[in-house]
Amino acid sequence: MGVREHILELQDVCITLNRQAIVEINRTIKAGEVLTVMGPSGSGKTSLLAYIAGFLGSAFQASGRIVIDGKDVSELPAEQRKAGLLFQDPMLFPHLSVGENLRFGIPQGDTNKQELVMCSLQEIGLAGYADRDPGTLSGGQAARVALMRLLLSRPRVVLLDEPFSKLDATLRSEIRLQVFERLRKAGLPTILVTHDAADAVAANGQVFQI
């Protein structure tokens, strides 16, 4: 994976619901940096992620610009924004095998898809798992596959929606370290939404309180 430096700018972003501003933010997140967004539930953390990814519900209005690598993407449909997502659950597509899950996100032009899948499985210690049913993976394994699937889709920014909250305590710090390390290595600007102050500490970057 070629490392390219990406940069995410949120310029005067303002999300409103029923004419009431719920999030106002103006930040720049550089390559490999993590911006942690914290706030009580219902405060609009997830709406901010949805807006950046391109899924904001029609009940909301938003203004401002999302700029990735100097290009305004606010008007682009979700699939062209290249904003990778991780949710609470790993959400591996249950009807596809582990390998097919990884393949799903690899950009069309790639000719060596099979090789990429094999290498990345090896990288996360799951060599030989390509044909496995994702339903048979442990929580930690599934989380690693989900992260790898995201990286293989070559995102330009990454959005994390409380991705560690469902993991048990021992697994949580381990997976958290792996995720941040890989995102940093890949030079991806990241936004992390969380309730957990320990996540913010581990992310070791700016914190935005809603």
Binding site: E75, A78, R81, G105, G135, T136, R149
Partner: protein
Amino acid sequence: MAAEVYNKLTMLRWASPVMLLLLAIPVGIGLLMVLLPAFGFMPAIGGYEFTLAHWRDLFGVPGIVRSILLSLLAGIVTPAIALAVVFLFMASASATGLDRWVRRFVSPLLAIPHAAAAFGLVFMIAPAGLLARLISPDLTGWDRPADLLIVNDSYGLAMIAGLVIKEIPFLLLVAITVLPQLNPAQRVSMARSLGYGPSVAWLKMVAPGLYPLMRLPLVAVIAFASANVDVALILGPTLPPTLSVRLLGWFGDPDLSMRFMAAAAALLQLGVSLLAVVSWLLGEKMVSKFYRLWVRSGNRLGGDSAIFFLGRTLLPAALVVIGGSMLALFLSSFSLSWRFPHALPASWTVQHWVDAIPGMGTPVFNTLIIAAVSTTIALVLVVGSLEFEQRSDRKQSSAMWLLYLPLLMPQVVFLFGMVVFAEFFYWQPNLWLVIFGHLLFVVPYVFLVLSEAYRRLDPHWSQLAAALGASPSKTFWRIRIPLLLAPALSAMAMGIAISASIFLPTQLLGAGRIATVTTEAIALASGGSRSTIATWALLQSLLPMLGFLVALFVPKILWRNRIGMQEG
């Protein structure tokens, strides 16, 4: 962004308006086209001026008042009994093993065509039926079939029984589909912690919330029961028959001038069905007053054991009757000699089936082609409009209730008008007209089965796919369709079952010239031999059953190595 995205959705955005217009316009035209001939205007057969003469003729027909009352009675009593049985069952058996067991049988039972169930009931309860054989001569002392008018009784009780056993699975399916919105387990536990018995708790806390959600399907049941033709032809009274059967007779009369009176009768039928609905709604007001008093009374245990007993016996009994009816058909279709009062045939044969084979070709082919084409069109329209709803992130349009219009109106009335309309333009009855007629009934059921599952699918799946760079169409084909395969196949099975079992659209729009398994089976009602009737009625249930088997097993086989795809 909006403009750009919507441009790509152009094709999809038409799905829902096209679907609604396709359903609402024919029904509207159908109703209008009954109006004109009912008042004497129908140039094609020489009616050039408006007159009330045909209404005078209609009310001069002997026994017309009795026919009206029969239709009205069936329209009100059928939903009342079916609803009571379903509610008592849910009150007494929610979340038990019995509940899970019954749920498994709902769809296949729903797949049994009305006509087949009605024939089965005849073979079950008639004086020479399975039931009488099982208890004769030990309990009854009959060694020959008793001379009793059990089916075709003059009050229409057998007909109502036939309607009730078919509407119970329908109402149960509707109730099961909407129930999760109400959080029933939580409500019942809350009430039980306050000292209410479990069944009383369900009736007092869940039923009042569930009923309003079932009002529309209940109106459909009223419309169907008050105007049905196929069940009435098989089980209903004959002297006089119900209004719907008589109007169909006049409509098919070789003397074309009878068409005018038939149109007046169709309009009258609409009035009778409306009256049944209005009476139901008035009755609902009265019942709800008393019901509220009972809910408020604070009585916690009164009647709990009675409800428990009734709830756990009535609905299973109804299911047993349907099962027994099918068994009776099966036995008859393979029996060579079966003398009363033997419970089983003395000798067996496959001759009835062999004899039926030469005549099966065309009807089976027609049934399959009509079912396949109408279900495919319906699936495309329904999935298209649901997919548009998803992609454009729009709420369900308030016009969506129009979708159910063909179910809320008495079929015989607007189909009649559609035929008049076709004749107006000298369109010959043909297969496409019949397929179009089937579409009116297939679309609402396909939508009913598929829409909940489609809307309930976690939106995160599609968001994730898009975030991984998948286009909306890749997301649709690779993610949404596979994840929704099971409900989509159920919807398909439902569409096929509905198409394979409906009688009137084929009969009227095909002018009796397009034979399906259903029209053939019903034609046998008067004059076919017992074994022939049984063979055709079974054949009629077999086709829908195949659809449901496919829907049940294909996902199981396809996803056998995918834990996450197996349903709890």
